[in-house]
């Protein structure tokens, strides 16, 4: 499965966004934003499956939550 990053300026906003998605039955994973897609430095993102990205974006926009999406999809990194 491919994943997208929904990026937030603060962990609190990311947590708020996750709560909204949870209420809509959409699961996501709260993670540190990968360094190469965090131009301002550290941050937090919600990882969502690629196929949910447009729905997630629409829900968060409707709720007035500010965020950025990283359209570059990624596979979860394994070690």
């Amino acid at each position: 499965m491919k994943w997208c990053y929904v990026k937030f300026r603060s962990i609190t906003r990311a947590q708020g966004g996750q709560q909204i998605l949870n209420r809509r039955g959409i699961s996501s994973r709260l993670v540190r934003t990968p360094r190469n897609i965090a131009p301002r430095g550290c941050g937090y993102s919600l990882m969502v499956p690629e196929e949910n990205l447009s729905l997630v974006s629409e829900i968060l926009k409707n709720e007035g939550v500010s965020f950025e999406t990283d359209l570059q999809t990624r596979k979860v990194v394994g070690i």
């Binding site: 962990i11 609190t12 430095g41």
Partner: protein
């Protein structure tokens, strides 16, 4: 060992068991929130968010408007430094604590005082509006006097400030957890709240409810936008540099939930009943007792001997009270008790009828 604790105005004690457990749990399971992505860091972050959510629910605001501080004093300092500048004219009530007066004085503002009668809303509102009319850059007022328990007409004073478009700060040191406090309804720029008094959290915890973006009290790491040398311009990070007091915040959430379960109105009614009974005991001894309406669970009186010596005598009998000026010389000046000070008894949700009975017997 103290057997009768009547100093809840200083800090609530003993803390609810759920608070103690939450602190211990955090020490074992949480690390620095907002810094890492591993289990313990995320657990810490989730607990911090949980406390923000509980506070937002209790104080009727958004989750991001809840900024954690080390206590009400830091909250007030941050608010005052944000709103006021040297030379500003700032109106305060005649019942302010030094946590308000010293930061204002340090800020070199001109302080104007409104309200010189205990338990008189009419006097307070009339003088307050007169000063607002004369032109001020801001207002700061306590919700409840920490010396006399006098509940000020905060809602009406807030309306006046809004009508005159004057930014204002409310000191909720003695009201949070005892009276309903709504940031949305009051429309304050800031409301400062201690975590360890009416919310029953650990000492070293506090909240600044932000209706306005504050200037940072300290600068440093926030775990966000690290490339910038400026503090973030958004809440709550702008007010929260450095590692948060996660064990304290976990305890605070437990305290807030404990209060919500009991119900603020129930707590106030209980404390007022205890206050009434203690007033009768003290009046029966012909002490000068400061009572009136509306009054929260704080009661001041003047015994025949020096108030500190009297409190010391009570301490030796296992009764914890506070004596002196209670860090609020302005309130004493207003009430005419600056020279003597007072002995203060302050009550909590768990102060029992049995405690009052024992107090009566000892006195």
């Amino acid at each position: 060992m103290t057997s009768l604790y009547l100093d809840h105005g200083a800090t609530s004690f003993p803390k609810p068991e759920s608070v103690t457990k939450a602190v211990a749990w955090a020490l074992e399971h949480c690390t620095s929130p907002g810094r890492g992505g591993y289990i313990e860091a995320m657990e810490g972050a989730q607990r911090v968010y949980g406390c923000r959510r509980a506070a937002a629910e209790m104080f009727d605001c958004s989750i991001e408007q809840v900024v954690f501080t080390s206590g009400c004093t830091q909250s007030l300092n941050m608010a005052i430094r944000t709103l006021f500048h040297p030379g500003d004219r700032v109106v305060v009530s005649g019942f302010e604590h030094n946590a308000v007066m010293r930061p204002l004085s340090e800020r070199k503002v001109k302080i104007l005082t409104a309200g010189n009668c205990l338990f008189s809303w009419e006097n307070m509102l009339e003088e307050f509006e007169k000063i607002l009319q004369s032109g001020v850059q801001g207002a700061v007022f306590t919700h409840v006097s920490n010396v006399f328990g006098y509940i000020l007409p905060a809602e009406k004073m807030a309306v006046l400030c809004r009508n005159y478009q004057v930014p204002f700060i409310i000191d909720g040191a003695q009201s949070a957890g005892i009276l309903p406090v709504s940031l949305r309804k009051l429309g304050a720029d800031f409301i400062a709240i201690p975590g360890h008094k009416g919310l029953h959290g650990p000492m070293g915890t506090g909240i600044l409810l932000c209706g306005t973006i504050p200037e940072p009290f300290i600068a440093g790491g926030t775990g966000s936008e690290s490339e910038s040398l400026q503090m973030p311009d958004f809440l709550p990070e702008r007010g929260e540099a450095g590692t948060l007091n996660v064990p304290g915040i976990c305890g605070l959430e437990a305290g807030i939930r404990w209060v919500m379960e009991k119900g603020v109105s129930h707590i106030l009614a209980h404390e007022k009943e205890i206050l009434r009974e203690c007033t009768e005991i003290l009046k029966g001894k012909n002490y000068r007792v400061f009572t009136g309406e509306p009054q929260g669970g704080v009661l001041s009186f003047i015994p025949p001997q020096d108030c500190e010596a009297y409190a010391d005598a009570l301490a030796r009998k296992g009764i914890a009270v506070r004596a002196g000026l209670h860090c609020a010389p302005l309130a004493h000046r207003t009430a005419g008790t600056l020279k003597t000070g007072t002995v203060r008894m302050s009550f909590g949700p768990d102060t029992s009828e049995e405690t009052v009975k024992k107090l009566g017997e000892i006195l």
